[in-house]
């Protein structure tokens, strides 16, 4: 089977046939920094005197204020102010506070299939859902790419995952992501390019793929790529991207066994318990655990589809936990307003926040108190991630999160979803 990661890397470097393990220099199409890593990149650029060279290559630079959106203290506000000036001066595309999370904004019409993208944020891996090679780097490297337009890459060894079948009721793409993390463990995909193929992909729309690609970094993956198909095409058209014929070559034949095979029908609702994302259990194993707060949002599950899933479950009910809802972008928030979703959520008792990372990053907007429990649709649950180390974060699908808000405890969502479907 042909690896899309190697194909894309070869196209961007001088080497014709890049092999796994090769260290190659490659031209980068896009580089992204956020308000945490961008502040450090800017410091490096000004200390080295290289700032004046930013924007002279064809690489596009994106600056996104999502981690402190809006600023929660003086330091963050100062960092924003500096990055605003920098972006204006050197022609970077700036998404200011309130626009949303980089990993949603960039897939709303910026990222194109076949591109090579780096970002100073580990979840940059998300854009693989649109058949691109995208991966996380640090601030120094982001600064280096802004100046030189290129970077060294160690070509990853592919890890092919075959997908067949379709999800059962009450099971979502997040459960597939958690299933993969359970299989891989935290080092199981280290340095690898996870590449998905098989007839089951027709049951995963781009929202689902973004969720899955996003979390593959929790198993150490360098990229997590879905091939280009009709789902990708309709997503791109929705965001007014001119679709190119050459993208059709970004495919993986549905034949072949792959390194792993998953029938979506066999996946059950899963949940990740502290201290790390790969500590995955069946929701049923934790049934009855009292929950203080539910968070629906983040670059994993803050999309419109997730908000609809949440709204269908809490509609007309009164929640028993605190419920924080943060749409991943301003477009999603607008759509929630226009389609009546926001009203349903607020009536049920939800707090709706400014588009951005919210409490996932652990700096503000709903962090926990000591000993409290949160069910979150985000991607990380290290101790201290969103509150004191004694606070517990459980990672689950929007279904499982929504039902936890209704019952006040960790609950298998399937009976509730069946009930909603009957109504």
């Amino acid at each position: 089977m042909e690896s899309l990661a190697l194909k894309i890397l070869s196209k961007h470097s001088e080497e014709e046939n890049v092999e796994p393990g090769d260290i190659v220099y490659a031209k980068v199409d896009k580089v992204m920094v956020n308000d945490v890593t961008g502040a450090l990149a800017l410091k490096i650029l000004s200390e080295t005197g290289a700032e004046k060279l930013v924007g002279k290559r064809r690489t596009e630079t994106y600056v996104v204020f999502d981690h402190y959106s809006p600023a929660h203290n003086w330091d963050a506000a100062n960092a924003h102010a500096k990055l605003r000036l920098f972006s204006r001066k050197y022609g970077c595309k700036l998404f200011d506070v309130g626009y949303g999370i980089a990993h949603q904004l960039l897939v709303e019409g910026m990222v194109k299939p076949g591109e090579l993208i780096v970002g100073a944020d580990s979840h940059t891996i998300t854009y693989g859902a649109l058949a691109s090679f995208s991966t996380g780097i640090g601030s120094s490297e982001a600064a280096y790419v802004m100046v030189t337009g290129e970077l060294w890459f160690k070509a990853p060894e592919p890890l092919f995952v075959k997908i067949t079948g379709n999800f059962g009721i009450g099971v979502a793409a997040k459960d597939l992501a958690l299933h993969l993390l359970k299989e891989f463990g935290s080092e199981g995909a280290l340095y690898r390019s996870v590449e998905f193929f098989g007839e089951g992909l027709r049951n995963l729309d781009v929202n689902d793929r973004l969720t899955v690609s996003n979390m593959m970094v929790e198993a150490g993956a360098k990229t997590a790529i879905f091939p280009y198909d009709s789902e990708t095409e309709s997503w791109l058209r929705k965001y007014n991207v001119n679709v190119r014929d050459e993208w059709k070559e970004l495919k993986i034949e549905a034949k072949g066994k792959g390194d792993m095979s998953i029938d979506l029908a066999t996946i059950e609702p899963l949940i990740s318990a502290p201290p790390k994302p790969t500590n995955v259990k069946h929701v049923g194993d934790l049934e009855g655990t009292p929950v203080d707060q539910v968070f629906v949002g983040s670059c994993t599950n803050g999309r419109f589809k997730d908000m609809v899933a949440l709204a269908r479950i809490v509609k007309g009910k009164r929640i028993k936990t605190r419920l924080i809802v943060i749409p991943a972008s301003i477009n999603i928030l607008k759509r929630m307003i226009n389609e009546g979703i926001l009203n349903i959520l607020v009536e049920a008792g939800a707090m709706v926040g400014v588009p951005g990372c919210g409490p996932c990053f652990g700096a503000h907007m709903g962090v926990l108190g000591g000993g409290e429990v949160m069910v979150s649709t985000a991607n990380r649950n290290f101790p201290g991630r969103a509150g004191p180390p004694s606070a517990k974060v459980y990672l689950a699908s929007p279904y499982t999160a929504a039902v936890a808000a209704i019952t006040g405890q960790i609950t298998d969502p399937r009976p509730y979803i069946r009930e909603v479907l009957r109504e």
Binding site: V36, E187, G220
Partner: protein, 168 residues
């Protein structure tokens, strides 16, 4: 490049949230980061503060798990960590370390060392020496390109060169 340090042993999958919690990332000056390094893992924090300096962190699998925050590397450097030897590293942390001149070596030496041991490293030759037990362990030397970045003192030095050679 030759280095030495005193052993602080840590476990598997040490994540960057544990190394430097998110709530301190709004500043990146070394003093601030050193003040909060491993704050949510008091056991590791105490070992580092009590250890002779410089410190050599000896870890298991997957060191540097999670976020891309370069602050994690800066925090370790500010806390007098001279090098890290781990069975494996998560890739962004690994790159960040090299790019900031922090030496990272892939080798599993946990069974050879005890807390506080002196460990010596010869990077070019790929040798780790533990004088207490008179043991020499070999590792695969880093690729030349990465060694170059380490020796020059990090990626910043390349940027300085580029900036001084190109006109405005």
């Amino acid at each position: 490049m030759k280095l030495e340090g005193y052993v602080v042993l840590v476990g598997d999958s040490i994540d960057t949230d544990t190394i430097i919690p998110a709530r301190y990332l709004h500043r990146s000056d070394p003093e601030w980061l050193a003040q909060h390094v491993f704050e949510d893992a008091p056991e590791i924090r105490e070992k580092i503060s009590k250890s002779l300096k410089p410190v050599a962190i000896i870890a298991g699998k997957g060191f540097g798990y999670g976020s891309s925050r370069e602050h994690a590397v800066l925090a370790l450097k500010a806390a007098s960590v001279s090098f890290i030897i781990a069975e494996s590293f998560h890739r962004i942390f690994y790159r960040n370390a090299i790019n900031n001149g922090l030496v990272v070596i892939e080798a599993n030496i946990r069974n050879y060392v005890e807390e506080g041991d002196l460990v010596k490293v010869n990077l070019k030759e790929g040798i780790i020496v533990i004088p207490r037990i008179n043991e020499t362990i070999r590792f695969k030397p880093l690729p030349k390109k990465l060694l170059e970045i380490l020796e020059i003192g990090g990626l910043k030095q390349f940027l300085k060169k580029i900036a001084s050679s190109e006109p405005r």
